[in-house]
């Protein structure tokens, strides 16, 4: 009961969108608005705008809708009178949880907990998930340093004034091209676009190069291995450099695929060795699965594909989980109250929805669907890059987490995105010249074919 396909009737944005844009612009900035939507009429993989245009949506609200629009399983949760009090009375979840909170956590988050990570802390978005994971790492590190002793009076006093030793000069390593959020702590580890960071004071933390692999992978094995080696050597060097400068590196944060940064992949071997290096230096290993999690790679978590012997210490999530938080090992439980805390700590109604997502993915075998639809899409894009070798290269992906680069750079990429929109395909960009596909888990092989056909038409017009 979706639409049969996209249908575009007006310019994008259409006249009604333009009118609403003017209204909104008098109250708030609107630089990023594409068009206004009719969410009531949107269905499954199809987004409807206020001018009656229907788009096949392969971007799904910046990769944040797991089951597309108005999925019956989610409508059922919100229509269930038993959930009404959960929706209307948002609690201070840390202090006064609802009766069903343990069971809800069990059925939603713990039901899909990464192997080896038995604990979870709920948060509200990707940024507070990462911010609090960073804090958990710093606290863990200092607790180890103290060897069981309580903090000193000097530590308790100096921290109040942002000074060492109470606010110690600890660091966290991130990678070039990374995106972990935009609040100040997260932003210190984000290095995807200048416009996100310009003018904002930051922290001098180590930044390692992320591998820049060549595609197709099978034709560049030796080169790519050398590139990953170069990056891992730099990780070693930064650990030594910062530690000898008295600025311990307490952890490393990494995305399984750098999403905002341009869909940059690295091999499972790279991540396995990165995990080993963090162990070697006594640092925590934090995997940010805010965009890669929840089945989009064909596994529930992208890092499942690395087959680690040692699980990560912390895995953060948000977006398609519908709320945020982080999984962690026993070792990373806060050692006393109010150290990892805020008023809301997420929201029980999001857990109720997450529970329905987890159940639907299992019942409808959606991971298998993702693998099938993803393979049709990736094969189609590979075919297009052969057909249009002056326009496209580097088709790559896992599951439906797929991207391709535009040879003509930023302008070329944006032209293709605009033309796709005119043909009723709502997609998105990342990095400098990349088109990324981030459909919902209900995106099927026949949708993939429509995307490939539309792109074929767009590319033919450019050629």
């Amino acid at each position: 009961d979706e639409f049969d396909g996209p249908s575009i009737k007006t310019d994008i944005p259409g006249p009604r969108s333009k009118e609403l844009l003017r209204e909104l612009n008098s109250l708030s900035t609107t630089h990023e608005v594409q068009f206004f939507c009719n969410y009531e009429e949107s269905k499954g993989n199809y987004l409807v705008d206020v001018d009656g245009n229907v788009f096949l949506d392969i971007f799904m609200q910046i990769s944040s809708l797991p089951l597309g629009y108005n999925h019956p399983a989610l409508l059922k949760v919100l229509n269930d009178p038993a959930n009404l009090s959960t929706l209307v009375n948002r609690p201070a979840l840390g202090n006064l949880p609802p009766a069903d909170f343990p069971l809800r956590v069990q059925n939603s988050l713990i039901a899909v907990a990464p192997k080896g990570l038995t604990n979870v802390k709920t948060m509200a978005c990707g940024s507070c998930s990462n911010e609090n994971a960073y804090k958990a790492i710093f606290m863990w590190y200092m607790t180890k340093q103290r060897g069981g002793a309580p903090p000193s009076p000097e530590e308790l006093e100096t921290c109040m004034y942002n000074k060492s030793p109470g606010a110690p000069d600890l660091t966290l390593m991130s990678f070039t091209g990374a995106f972990h959020g935009r609040t100040l702590g997260c932003l210190a580890t984000t290095h995807s676009k200048a416009i996100h960071k310009l003018d904002i004071p930051s922290l001098d933390w180590p930044i390692a190069p992320f591998p820049q692999l060549k595609y197709p992978l099978e034709e560049h094995e030796a080169e790519n291995r050398a590139e990953e080696r170069r990056c891992l050597d730099q990780v070693h060097a930064l650990f030594r450099e910062y530690t000898s400068a008295g600025r311990p590196v307490c952890g490393v944060v990494v995305e399984p695929v750098q999403a905002e940064g341009g869909d940059n992949h690295a091999s499972p071997e790279f991540f396995r060795e990165l995990r080993a290096i963090t162990k070697e230096y006594g640092a925590a290993f934090l995997v940010d699965e805010v965009q890669t999690g929840v089945g989009v790679t064909g596994s529930w978590w992208a890092h499942d594909l690395w087959q680690l012997d040692d699980p990560p210490d912390i895995v953060t999530f948000a977006k398609k989980m519908l709320g945020g938080g982080y999984f962690h090992t026993e070792e990373f439980r806060a050692n006393s109250g109010y150290r990892i805390f805020n008023t809301w700590l997420g929201e029980p109604s999001k857990l109720a929805m997450c529970e329905a997502v987890v159940k639907t993915v299992q019942e409808e075998n959606l991971l298998e669907n993702v693998r099938q639809a993803g393979s049709v899409l990736l094969d189609g894009l590979k075919h297009l890059q052969t057909k249009y070798p002056t326009q496209l290269e580097n088709a790559r992906g896992l599951g439906t987490f797929i991207a391709i680069d535009c040879k003509g750079g930023d302008a070329h990429r944006n032209k293709i995105l605009t033309d796709l929109k005119r043909k009723g395909i709502q997609s998105g960009g990342c990095g400098e010249r990349t088109i990324r596909c981030r459909p919902a888990l209900i995106f099927q092989p026949h949708h993939a074919e429509m995307v490939v056909n539309a792109m074929d038409e767009v590319l033919a017009e450019q050629a």
Copy 2:
């Protein structure tokens, strides 16, 4: 249709709460859990727990519920089928807003915008509201510095590595005792409790002393004026010190009443002069109304009471507004896209609820109710501090935003809070030895009398 009064049947926490605590503790830390709640049965000013105990709640989920539990106006919003698609399809609000977004913003946020602040940016919680307000201040400052010129290639390059000049060494002034949130940027301006800050690396930003006034105010006018003068002189000194060290102070952030820090008040004159000082140094003035906003002081915004000639540049909100964000002047609009941005930027369903809150406050004249109930409560507490002069002092407040100090310090305060809970009053602490009242806007004079009577009994038992 509330309860007639509190009713306590078991120990707090009761046996069912203890059982759930054990369950939850196997999945997540639980240091801060007080007891588990039955939100379905909770009503108005009364919170019901899973053991059937009924509390008169004057803390309202850390001051975050505007209309108490299960208010009909909010139930109506959530039961309205027209809102279902708003609840189920959370959009990337910056890119693809729903059709009713401009009208919703108008009827919820702009309808109560502080005088002179015509723009608003929606966010999801107090922390991202403050983090983004800080970023807006730094961007505004650097845009002024550039005098219309675009950023230099060097700035664009260095910011990617957290280095100056792209990530400049700018600072933001805050006050001792302040609380502005717990993400790293917010935490650099929070100075209420060591346990919030210990072990977390921070930024060397200026921290001015916040006035410590003596009560009753009318008996200590000269002393208090001198104390405020001392603090303002320090503000001047810090502006000069940091600026001459090449670390410009771009803004000052302040709460109208320091809430977590112990309900510390300052006079309208203090804030008026603080505003003038920020102007003098070309810095922004940010008022954090996350806890003081939404009518609790008897005015919609606490800073209304200062009668500023020059409005603040930015006012942040969250908690009782049900979502977060910040109001700002035209000058503080971001100058290009994706500088102030994140995936969700709040949530339209929270605006729908906020709209109902705004309407209910107006229709039911709740600001007047707050003033009346607050005056009964404050008078009652003043009477108690006269009756128990060895136990209580410094009763103070605006509207129902009321606090009183316990002479026996932390342990004494916690004993009173526990005893109050046993008598069915759910309240909270702040600062080192303060009890704070943060009831909903529907808290009435007869509820205030119950609180005073219960406290009288508790104090008599201690005496």
